[in-house]
Amino acid sequence: MAGPGRAQAADLAFGGAGPVKFLRHLGAVTLVVAVVVVLGLAWNHFGASTLVGGLQASFKQVPPGARPPGAVVLRPGAGGGGPHGPVVIRNGPMNLGLGSMLDPVNLAVLRHTVVIEAVVIAIVVMIDVSRRLWREERRARQLALSRPDDDEPDQ
């Protein structure tokens, strides 16, 4: 069943049924992603205190009009309190940092990320290689044990 069935499936996938299949899969993926997002929203609704630590200092709710200089508006007063509701701001000025990639000092941040990724990849690859070697060795040993007479010369 594997050979011709798979060939037909491949033909269908790359032929006229391709876009339909892709859209069907995209729909399923979107649904799964939506479920995860809803779980996140539920977490925020029912157990936000389990996650929020000492970050309150960087956010503030202020009455409309009372905005310190340099503060960035994160949500205008059209939310829960209506047009005259509280304004959510973030303290301190905001820098878009569009030129930060050109500053060689910031390369250290990128290097740091690359090093973490490289180290994790190296560890996983080493574990995988040693596990495979160990498994091959064990298989060879079992094979040798199951055929003890093979080495003896024929009489």
Partner: protein, 175 residues
């Protein structure tokens, strides 16, 4: 790319065409995954990119994640069905990928919800708040640990395809 004459032709030609098409899919997977890895590395390096590039790159990564999952949805279904098998070979990969799905999705979603440049630029003022900032930081760190594991668990495929692509390139240049 390939006309109907190739697909409807006799066995060998049809087989060759199919092989060529599957190779094209492998190439797409390889380069797309590489771009995703580079994109994630850049997006995580917030201090390097600055907030504007970080946010737009993050939104792009979210869309790319949807496409990546869609392209591999067959694998997800197949492996999920085989999970009941006690010696299923892809079990570790499946668990890592599930954790990565949660981490990446929540990271992108919380990033959108605390957006200070991209969404306000579009006139959308999302639900900012300490919970989402903390969730974004946490999931970004978890994702940074899981992305290289996700890549490394397929290192044989990556090396194999990378080597084949290099050989193919050098053979093409030699002609």
């Amino acid at each position: 790319m390939n006309g109907p004459s190739l697909t409807s032709a006799a066995g060998p030609v049809s087989g060759l065409a199919r092989r060529r098409r599957i190779a094209a899919r492998t190439r797409l997977d390889f380069w797309f995954d590489l771009v995703l890895l580079l994109g994630f590395t850049l997006a995580y390096s917030y201090g390097f990119t600055g907030i504007a590039i970080h946010e737009w790159l993050g939104i792009g990564l979210g869309l790319a994640l949807l496409i990546h999952l869609t392209l591999h949805w067959d694998w997800v279904i197949r492996t999920t069905r085989r999970l009941l098998n006690p010696r299923g070979p892809d079990k570790v990969i499946w668990i890592v990928n599930l954790a990565l799905l949660f981490g990446m999705t929540l990271c992108v979603a919380s990033g959108i919800l605390i957006s200070r440049v991209a969404l306000p630029y579009l006139g959308i003022y999302p639900l900012a708040g300490p919970f989402w900032t903390r969730l974004h930081d946490l999931t970004a760190e978890v994702t940074l640990g899981l992305v290289p594991v996700h890549v490394a668990l397929r290192w044989r495929w990556l090396v194999q395809v990378g080597r084949r692509l290099l050989t193919w390139r050098s053979a093409g240049r030699g002609r």
